[in-house]
């Protein structure tokens, strides 16, 4: 345990223990550094953002060990990681027993995890079937249940900005309390994302664990399966005539940075995470030298389907049909205030972190 005057072995000087760091009646104040070193469970390790995040975490001395879990083999980028600090396991998170077994591995039985990051949500509309649905909802349920049973103190679920209802009466900046897309005709992925979020939100008042839901805006980055990234990787992107929505996408690097802050700092609840730059979709395309083609709105989904059949895109226009028509700019002022404003505290332990 460090004291405010004496930095601990990692040079951390900003831990504010005791009453001074406590918010009224609610434990330590959001934005203060979590004490001790981190033992982290990451579900969905094959995602690009997860790979990036793990690389950053392993460069941080205060991360003691990471258990990365996904279906299939370990991503090549993580094969050379220090086996003392990084373990990869293949498991099906939709099976309760397999989830429990991960928490009971010899190495983690006596020194359990303190942080669980659930990034394993299957968000690709292509071939989304009952098995994917079962995986998404069950994994969220089992992982959270196991985390609470094994006294994990921080649980982070990476959701999506697609949960927001968008349309002509949209806000110029969408806050966390904005209307959600509860349309029963919405794509099953959206419904499952909301189900998983509600499972998390039902446990947000759990006293021993800070449950967080992070809703990132569209994420850019090579190989990232986000709607916005897939649109930009299309050849060419197809947009509806006469519409140019406002967006504020983030990048996988920035998202990994934000997840790192969420891991190291205290705070619970629902948070938007977005990029700093706000602008029209067409400007983002123009900036990257991409020339979109425009078609009349009613023909958009048919053209997109044809493009997918020809292998020219992986973007699925039917997944979030209003996304190319109406603005969705996330307001991440809350995350900024609670986490990014305290990035210097994390920077003291993670030297590579840009404040």
């Amino acid at each position: 345990m460090s004291t405010p005057d004496a930095p601990d072995r990692s040079g951390r000087a900003d831990v504010v223990p005791g009453a001074a760091a406590e918010s009224p009646g609610n434990g330590p104040a959001p934005g203060t550094l979590r004490e001790g070193s981190r033992r982290i469970f990451i579900a969905g390790a094959r995602r690009r953002v997860a790979v990036h995040l793990i690389e950053r975490m392993l460069a941080t001395p205060d991360v003691e060990v990471i258990l990365a879990v996904d279906r299939g083999a370990c991503p090549p980028a993580l094969l050379g990681c220090d086996p003392e600090r990084f373990v990869y396991a293949s498991a099906d998170l939709s099976r309760r027993r397999q989830v429990d077994n991960l928490f009971l591995l010899d190495r983690f039985r006596d020194q359990p995890f303190d942080t669980v990051l659930h990034l394993a949500f299957v968000g690709n509309p292509h071939g989304y079937d009952f098995a994917s649905h079962e995986f998404n909802v069950n994994a969220a349920q089992h992982l959270l249940d196991a985390s609470l049973r094994h006294e994990v103190t921080k649980y982070i679920f990476l959701s999506s900005d697609a949960v927001y209802r968008i349309g002509p009466r949209g806000d110029y900046k969408v806050r966390e309390d904005a209307e959600l897309n509860l349309d029963p005709k919405a794509h099953p992925i959206l419904r499952d994302t909301l189900d998983a979020e509600f499972i998390c939100r039902a446990k947000m008042d759990f006293p021993g664990c800070e449950v967080m839901v992070i809703r990132p805006s569209g994420v850019f980055g090579g190989g990232v399966i986000s709607g916005m990234n897939l649109l930009f990787e299309s050849n060419p992107p197809i947009l509806p005539v006469g519409f140019d929505p406002m967006i504020n996408p983030t990048t996988k690097e920035q998202l990994a940075h934000d997840l790192l802050l969420a891991t190291f700092l205290r705070g619970k609840g629902v948070y938007n995470v977005a990029g700093k730059t706000v602008g029209p979709l067409s400007k983002f395309l123009e900036e990257r030298g991409i020339r979109p083609r425009r078609v009349p709105g009613p023909a958009l989904q048919a053209v997109n389907r044809m493009q997918r059949m020809l292998g020219l895109t992986r973007y699925h226009a039917g997944f979030h049909p209003k996304r190319l028509y109406y603005s969705l700019v996330l307001d991440d002022a809350k995350f900024e205030r609670v986490f990014r404003a305290h990035a210097d505290k994390v920077a003291a332990v993670a030297k590579h972190l840009e404040v």
């Binding site: 110029y172 005539v241 006469g242 406002m246 029209p280």
Partner: protein, 281 residues
């Protein structure tokens, strides 16, 4: 942009170029406003303001040079040319130029091109969050408290004010911003509304469906307004009692105060028009 350059004198282009759009990273502000679209909108508005509606206005000194304000007044004329003229008039007669941000009916943003153009000209859908955002960023917010339905007033109810919605008073009280009342005379005469086909309006999800002396008989051309001269008067700023946020009674009283102030500006505007036509102004 170049196409519309002849519509504006060089000094007005300079003013547009000087108008600061707080860049959010891609050449637009967070609302999506672009200097190009502003230039286009202002060029068209300026031409209408100067040559078509030949607007006569007074009381610009009541519009604050900086900071948030709510500008509220009467609405009429079947199509909202009054809003265009008010926005142009404020931009033209304030230094530094101030852009009036309107809360626009949602259906506009469902329309291709038009919705995008409106957003690029700094207009936005009328949600509470958008109101708050515009005020927090220190903009002048234009409100027609009678609602869009007031555009479809029949000819025999000209210059009668509908009941005012209280949103503008709450907004001003919440942000401690003044309400600038204005009265606009002349827009009522640009169209003669004979009837409102409500079932058709409901089917088309429009606030009203007008039958005028020219529409629908002349097709879409029948919606074009007659070139009646506009008279705009701005009244002294009204500071809203913050109690309006807590008491329905105070809120009702403050709404009535704004409505009375608007009615007074309309009355003075009508007098100005009379004097003008009689050659005294």
């Amino acid at each position: 942009m170049q196409l519309f350059r002849p519509l504006l004198p060089a000094r007005e282009w300079t003013r547009i170029e000087k108008y600061v759009v707080s860049d959010a990273g891609m050449g637009t502000d967070v609302f999506g406003t672009t200097p190009e679209a502003l230039g286009l909108g202002y060029a068209l508005g300026y031409w209408l303001h100067r040559h078509y509606f030949r607007v006569v206005s007074e009381g610009h000194e009541h519009i604050p040079a900086t900071g948030a304000a709510v500008i509220a007044g009467n609405h009429s004329g079947v199509l909202p040319f009054d809003a265009v003229m008010l926005g142009t008039d404020v931009f033209r007669n304030t230094e530094p130029p101030r852009l009036v941000r309107y809360m626009v009916d949602y259906f506009v943003f469902r329309l291709p091109f038009l919705g995008t153009l409106f957003r690029r000209m700094g207009q936005m859908p009328g949600t509470r969050r958008n109101f708050d955002g515009a005020m927090e960023e220190g903009h002048v917010v234009g409100v027609f408290p009678e609602g869009a339905a007031a555009l479809g007033k029949p000819a025999n109810r000209r210059y009668e004010l509908h009941d005012f919605n209280p949103g503008h008073v709450e907004l001003a009280a919440r942000h401690r911003a003044p309400v600038i009342p204005f009265g606009l005379v002349g827009a009522e005469e640009q169209q003669t509304m004979l009837a409102d086909l409500r079932p058709l309006a409901r089917a088309l999800r429009l606030p009203y469906f007008p039958v005028t002396t020219t529409f629908p008989w002349l097709g879409p051309l029948g919606l074009l307004p007659k070139p009646s001269r506009y008279f705009i008067r701005y009244g002294a700023p009204l500071w809203i009692d913050p109690e309006a946020l807590r008491s329905v009674e105070v809120r009702r009283r403050e709404v009535e105060r704004v409505r009375d102030a608007v009615a007074e500006q309309i009355r003075l505007g009508q007098e100005t028009r009379k004097d003008y036509h009689e050659g005294r102004a």
